[in-house]
Structure formats: structure tokens, C-alpha cells
Amino acid sequence: MKRVLIANRGEIAVRIIRTLRERGIESVAVYSEADATAPHVFMADQAVCLGPAAATESYLNIPKLIAAITATGADAVHPGYGLLSENPVFAEAVAAAGAVFIGPPPSAMRAMSKKTDARATMIAAGVPVVPGGEIGDIARIGYPVLVKAASGGGGKGMRRVMAAEELEDAVASCQREAAKAFGDASVYLERLVLRPRHIEIQVLADSHGNVVHLFERECSVQRRHQKVVEESPSPVLTARVRDAMGAAAVAAAKAVGYVNAGTCEFLYDDRDESFYFLEMNTRLQVEHPVTELVTGLDLVSEQLRIAAGEPLGYSQDQLSQRGHAIEVRLYAEDPVTWLPQIGRVDTLVWPEGPGIRVDSGIYAGWEVGVNYDPMLAKLCVYAADRPKAVARLRRALAETVVLGVRTNLPLLQHIADSPAYLAGDTTTAFLDEHPFDAKAWVDAMPDAAVIAMALGATGTPAQATPGAAPASSDPYSPWARLPRDATHVRAPAKQETAPGGAS
């Protein structure tokens, strides 16, 4: 593998380029006209413009991507997550163009992409699934129920129905959204487990039949069925359940002939320690960094090795989960209404110091637009145990400054500061039970904030007199030896005349 094209954008494209660079592999970025100055474009060794901002004209346009693969001579393609990452037609087109698709075989994608088929496969493989079925099965399934798009994912195409009179509207709305987002209007029903935890198992499978799991990630804290906080280990999973869930994920992967990195999502019920297979994501997950932090593996690097035909080289008992990692997703999104926001990122300061990882797809000056997902960055912390990781998360979030576009940072701080979060009482109902209180947030504003605003509006403070040398009372300071009128240090004449030398 010499040159990899990344069929994606934003933070994940940047993250993939980082591993490629470390491995000495050339990177090819693709971008839409709206992303002409996006971070991944500058970071890659070369970049190809696909077309207009609309994803169907650029990132989702298979012929244009194939043309870019051919034009750049890329010998492999990493699809990232979202976009075409779980599209078997794209994977086949990549193979037909003579490049390696860094992901599972199209047959495994197909087996898992239609959730109704995946359920049947899992039942046959002995993996527990949530009771569900077609719209006509509602009497057997009962309320509350979830209406889900058969080809859905990423929290889109899902409706919660508490009572019979809501069902018709929910099905119609879900079908519309599914047709538009996934090109498949079919929907199905699934019993709604109340106050479940969302726990998923990362698996890695090589092309030699070796399958291991990299333990769990708990992603229970969600809004709009989309994750905002993910961590590993789960605050509640016992070793016994972890092993059982891991074995179920490995069985699921083997049942569909899975190769490369994938994730089996489960609903977990604390009360009786039962778990149900939800779906398998046949790609790298957004929240993969928490697994990287606790296992010490670089998942993108493992994906590249697997795609190149290398064996894993380790067995399940050589893997371990060390310490505790938490990831939060920073979105350009209202912390109260959860609605996407647009605008220019004027000020941007990332947290620093021990145990912090930031995967971002923005910079100060970046314009957050309407065309793509409003996720700005993922902030990860790593510490020896969960209480230390939560303390670190609070510290890291307080160091984070993003101004110019409204973000969900206050919501993330609210979660991190909640006693219930520290206690590990994380279910998918977390934000319903512990909603962000905007009034309390505003009431807690210190007087100094108003004072700073008032002083900030007073105009720029007087600048130091131009041309004045820095004053120093220390005779040993190197500044003391400068002439009083020196405005900058000049290089010696000899260097100024050196060929090609820069002064």
C-alpha cells in the first residue's frame, strides 16, 4: 500500500491522514467546493476536487470518486465513517478500479446493512436480538415501540412511539426521512427497552479467519438517538457480561464472514444484565479513539494491515483494557434545542496537558455551513480510572474555547458536572432525566463576565510605543545589550549574502 485515497471529510479524514503519514503512506484527499480550504485538504499529500457542495455531487458521487482514484493512482481507499463507508456498491466499484477497499467485503456489508436481514442472521447465529418485526406485528410487539428505517443508521430514520395513535404519523415521517437519507423507505418495528444502556463491542477480523474483540464502549448518553459521550470501559459491565457480549460480537462477525474493523451495538438492561444485538456498523466508528486509548492500538493502522492481507498477529488473551477513556462530541449545535448552528469559528483554543486527545476538523476562521454534519471535534481524555477521567474531562472542557458559532459545550459541561454521570448512572434516558438547565447556567454567570464584556467594548488598550526597545533593568539580560532603537534583530551581513539564505 503506497497511496491511500480518503473518501471522506472533516475530522475523520484528518485522523486517517495522521496514521498514513506515520506509516509513510501517501494520502489523497477529496473535497467538495464548500470544503476547498478544509483542514484535510491541506494536510493530505494531494487533494482532488470532486464537485459542488451537495454530497450527491461530491462525497457521495461514486463515478467522481472512482475517477479520482484512477487519476491519482491510489492503490487503496479508506471510506471513514458515514457517507459511502457502508455502501457495498462503492466497495465493489473501488475493487473494479483496481484499488483495495479498506473495510469489510461487500457481502458482509450487505448481510448487515439491511437491519431486518441482520436480525435474522443473528438469530440463526444464536446472538440475542430485541423482539420486533413488521408494522403488522405491532399487536405481538406491543408499545412502546421504535419505528426504524431498515437501511438506517447514525440515529436518522428512527421514531419513538408511545401509544397507538402516534404510530401512523411516525411511520409516514420515518419512511419519508428514510427514502431521502438512505434511498430505501422500508421501515420496521422494534420493542423499546426503557432506560437501556447502549454498549457496543469493537471487533477486528483479518482475512485469515482470526477474529478478536477490543472490549466495549458505552455510548448511552445520547440526544436525538445520536451519541454525545462515549467511554471505555462501561461503568457497569461485569467481566462475565463483557466476555459474553464480546463472544456474541465475535460470533456475529464470523456469521457474516466479516473482515476488518467493525462494531456490534447492543442494548444492555442493568436490571437483569441481559443484552440484545441492535446492529453491526461495518466501518470505523466515530468513537474509536476511546478504544485506542484503553487498548493502545491504532485502529486505522490495524485496518490498513488487515486490508493489506496481514494476519492480526495477536490473540484475544493478549489484549487488555487499561485505564479509562471518555470521548465527548463537540457540535455546532444549540445546547438546549440541539439544533444545528452555522457560523464562523472566531476563537478556538483546545485543551492541553496530560491525558488529552483532540480530533478536530476545524480551525479558527473555519465557516460551519449547512451542507454537512455539524460535528466540530471529538475531545478525549484518558486517566487511570473513571473518577480521574471524569475530573480530567471537566478540566479539559473548561480549557476549551470555541466562540463565533454556538456549540453544545455547555451541554457537555453539564453532563460532565452531573453527579449522576460521575456515579455512572448513564442510560439512553440520561438527558431526559437530567436535562440541561439553561436558566441555571445563565444564573451562574459571574459578575466578572459582564465586567469583561463592558471593558471589552471600551476599545483596544493603548499599545506599546512602536520602535521602542523592550526595557530591561537586568544588565545580564540579552535584551540589555541591544541598541535602544532596535526594532528587530538583523542577521549578520555574511548570512544575508549567502546564496538562498533567508535572514
Binding site: K156, S173, R176, E177, K180, A181, R224, D334, T337, L339, P340, Q341, I342, D346, T347, V349, V370, Y372, D373, P374, L397, A398, E399, V401, V402, L403, G404, R406, T407, L409, P410, Q413, A438, K439, W441, V442, D443, A444, M445, P446, D447, A448, A449, V450, I451, A452, M453, A454, L455, G456, A457, T458, G459, P461, A462, Q463, A464
Partner: protein, 165 residues
């Protein structure tokens, strides 16, 4: 160092008005918010990172970041609108118009002028970023005007429907 020369007024998102004016002594400020009145020493300092505002309030050195109405201070972000010089009337938001929460496309309009609506009833459905959002009636009332039709593009803050008593 810079001190305040003129009174300024700020409004939080919950309508709390706070006034800051120069105090009797140099570098002194008086902050008034409802019944609360506080006098403190506050100065803006030179230097600090580009884009940051350094200040000293009652001996404590602080660093703030400000962009438009947004401020980051002491590890938190708040929004404060500068309403200095604005009349009280113009500060009061019109509550009858239901606005689009985000830029998007109008997917469905479920009411017409003259319709009676009940609290929570879906009036308009907009689509943005591949997600649907229902704009619901905040109270019982009558639709006075519908400003958009299916397929129209709407911007954040655009009034979609007027609902009155």
C-alpha cells in the same frame, strides 16, 4: 490599562438586564442588576494572547475571550447582548411569531390562516441536515398568517407562522 468611560447595559438570554458604569474612584466600576449593586476595582490589562482580553477584577487576574455577544471566562461560555442605548421596547422580543430554528427547507405546512390550533400541534415541518424538525404551536390560538409554502428555503430566525389569540 483601560477603565470604563461610559455606562453599558447587557441583557442575558433570560432577559436579565445588567448595567455597568464607571465608579466614583479611578478604576472603579459599579455593577447593577435588579436589586443588586456591587462596586469593584476592575481594569483591562495590556498583553495576553492574541484575541484574549486580560483583566483584573478586585485583585484577581482573569483572561476572557469575546466574540460578538459570546464570552468565555473561568471555564464557561455565556451569551450577553450589549443593549447600550437601546430603548426598553426594542429589547422585548415579539413572541407571536414562530421562527425557523435553523436554515432549511419547508417540508410541510399543516395549517392555513384562520385555523384554530392547540398547544403542541405541529404547524410546519422543516428539513435541514437530512433531519426533520417540527415547529409546534407554543399555546392555543388562531393562525394569523403563514409566511412560507412547501419547498421554500428558510433561514434561522425567519418567522414561519404568526399565531395569535
Amino acid at each position: 490599562m483601560t477603565t470604563l468611560t461610559n455606562q453599558r447595559q447587557f441583557l442575558t438570554s433570560f432577559g436579565q438586564l445588567t448595567a455597568v458604569r464607571p465608579g466614583p474612584q479611578p478604576s472603579q466600576l459599579v455593577l447593577e442588576c435588579g436589586d443588586r449593586k456591587i462596586t469593584c476595582r476592575a481594569e483591562r490589562l495590556d498583553g495576553g494572547p492574541t484575541g484574549a482580553l486580560c483583566l483584573e477584577v478586585d485583585g484577581r487576574r482573569l483572561q476572557a475571550w469575546i466574540a460578538g455577544r459570546t464570552i468565555h471566562l473561568l471555564g464557561r461560555t455565556w451569551e450577553l447582548e450589549d443593549v447600550t442605548g437601546r430603548s426598553r421596547r426594542s429589547r422585548v422580543q415579539d413572541t407571536g411569531g414562530l421562527t425557523s430554528p435553523m436554515p432549511g427547507t419547508v417540508l410541510d405546512v399543516r395549517v392555513k390562516t384562520g385555523d384554530s390550533v392547540t398547544k403542541g400541534q405541529v404547524l410546519v415541518v422543516i428539513e435541514a441536515m437530512k433531519m426533520e424538525h417540527a415547529v409546534k404551536a407554543p399555546t392555543d390560538g388562531t393562525v394569523r398568517a403563514v409566511h412560507f409554502k412547501i419547498g421554500d428555503r428558510c433561514g434561522p430566525g425567519d418567522v414561519l407562522v404568526d399565531v395569535g389569540d
